[in-house]
């Protein structure tokens, strides 16, 4: 018991300290490395709170996508000499910030104390919805309660959330031009690494998708892994001979939300309520949605990392 508490206290303090460093380090690259470490500690915190589904999602997205996304953006910022704000550049604005910094912590400390008090003063244990989830799990088509909530009980949220992801890509394509040119030929080591890892990542993604119906895992975790595989391939200099205008690419990108909307419309037609699955078909419907969502999530995340519209190979041989 003591050891567990010690672990929790150490982890909690570590989270706060690493977050502080990630937010206030003088060097932006250092800040990003601290942020990556922060994601790692968050995954451990999820584990301590009995939330392995979230730990998996955090691990896959944090280690595979967010870090690479931030480093890629930093590289492009440095190319336009905007990687850092030095004092000289920011001038008056920065000095004003420094002045406000001295006073700002007072109201924020008060706010934090108030919120802390609010958390501490919560009336004793409220059971939440765990009882309802348990009672209806049998009719949900899956036996992992988190997947049941995501894909069945609150499937409408998940539908909208897939749209959020698609929206991010649409937004990026609408403002960014074609993706930056791929890096030079990869070194043999990197080439070998990506050749070896990619199939393995795909395999593990399939495993997580399959196991997600009854154990921690599911479409998001699997999709993030696919996205990470895409990131690795892009970094290794691999290019797909596909332009952003290609219908096949767009079809995969919209597969997740598309299938979800189709199921919603169909169930609306059949039962008068959207996303109401007949219990006998719930399992298979969820699986179909999850497979489509996994593909879309993976491709979308990789597309977001690409940083622009894929150009296809018409120009370069």
């Amino acid at each position: 018991m003591l050891l567990q508490s010690g672990f929790d206290v150490a982890l909690g303090l570590g989270l706060l300290w690493v977050a502080w460093q990630a937010l206030n380090s003088s060097d932006l690259f250092k800040a990003i490395v601290f942020f990556i470490a922060f994601g790692l500690l968050m995954a451990l915190a999820w584990v301590r709170m009995d939330a392995p589904d979230i730990a998996l999602a955090e691990a896959a997205i944090g280690a595979g996508v967010t870090g690479a996304l931030l480093l890629g953006a930093l590289a492009r910022l440095r190319a336009s000499n905007a990687g850092e704000t030095t004092m000289g550049q920011a001038g008056n604005g920065q000095r004003r910030f420094m002045a406000s910094r001295r006073l700002l912590w007072i109201p924020l400390l008060l706010m934090a104390a108030g919120l802390g008090y609010a958390v501490l003063s919560l009336p004793g244990y409220t059971p939440g919805l765990s009882a309802q989830v348990a009672a209806n799990l049998g009719a949900s088509g899956v036996s992992n309660p988190v997947t049941a909530v995501l894909l069945n009980f609150r499937g409408y949220d998940t539908l909208l959330e897939l749209v959020v992801l698609l929206l991010a890509l649409l937004g990026m394509w609408s403002m960014a031009g074609p993706a930056p040119p791929p890096s030079a030929e990869a070194a043999a080591v990197l080439d070998g690494l990506s050749r070896f890892l990619t199939p393995l990542v795909l395999l593990v993604a399939a495993y997580l998708l399959w196991v997600g119906t009854r154990a921690p895992g599911g479409a998001f975790q699997a999709g993030s892994l696919l996205g990470a595989a895409g990131v690795l391939l892009i970094l290794a200099g691999w290019r797909a001979n596909v332009a952003s205008t290609a219908l096949s690419l767009r079809l995969v990108l919209t597969a997740g939300p598309g299938v979800f909307v189709a199921v919603a419309a169909f169930s609306l037609l059949m039962s008068g309520q959207m996303l109401k699955y007949p219990p006998a078909y719930a399992g298979i419907l969820i699986l179909i949605i999850e497979i489509a969502a996994t593909l879309s999530i993976g491709l979308t995340l990789a597309g977001l990392f690409l940083g622009g519209r894929p150009r296809g190979e018409r120009k370069s041989p």
């Binding site: 070194a187 080591v189 990197l190 070998g192 690494l193 070896f196 890892l197 393995l200």
Partner: protein, 99 residues
């Protein structure tokens, strides 16, 4: 504690020592190459020992297999990342540390 427990505890303890050694190396070694060395070797051995220690007490062979796979992956990642970083460090002309 049973004899297997003792073996496991020994392996785990040694794993911890190797991790400590890796961290000490990371903190104390004088340049990036030596630190690279400390980190990728010591930690991977440490992880290997911990995996072995846990395997001794694992419930099933599936668990053992999964843990060994994880270890292999970490080894692979460590080796290739060390090589990539070392090469790019060298190319940037950061000098080796000499006594």
């Amino acid at each position: 504690m049973t004899p297997t427990d003792w073996i496991a505890a020994l392996l785990l303890g040694m794993g911890g020592v190797f991790f400590l050694a890796g961290t000490l190396g990371l903190l104390r070694f004088p340049d990036v190459y030596t630190r690279l060395h400390a980190l990728t070797k010591a930690d991977n051995v440490g992880l290997g020992l911990i995996v072995l220690g846990l395997s001794v007490q694992a419930d099933s062979w599936v668990v053992v297999g999964k843990m060994l796979l994880i270890w292999a992956l970490v080894l692979l990642a460590g080796a290739s990342v060390a090589q990539l970083i070392a090469r790019s460090v060298l190319r940037r002309g950061i000098r080796l540390w000499r006594q």
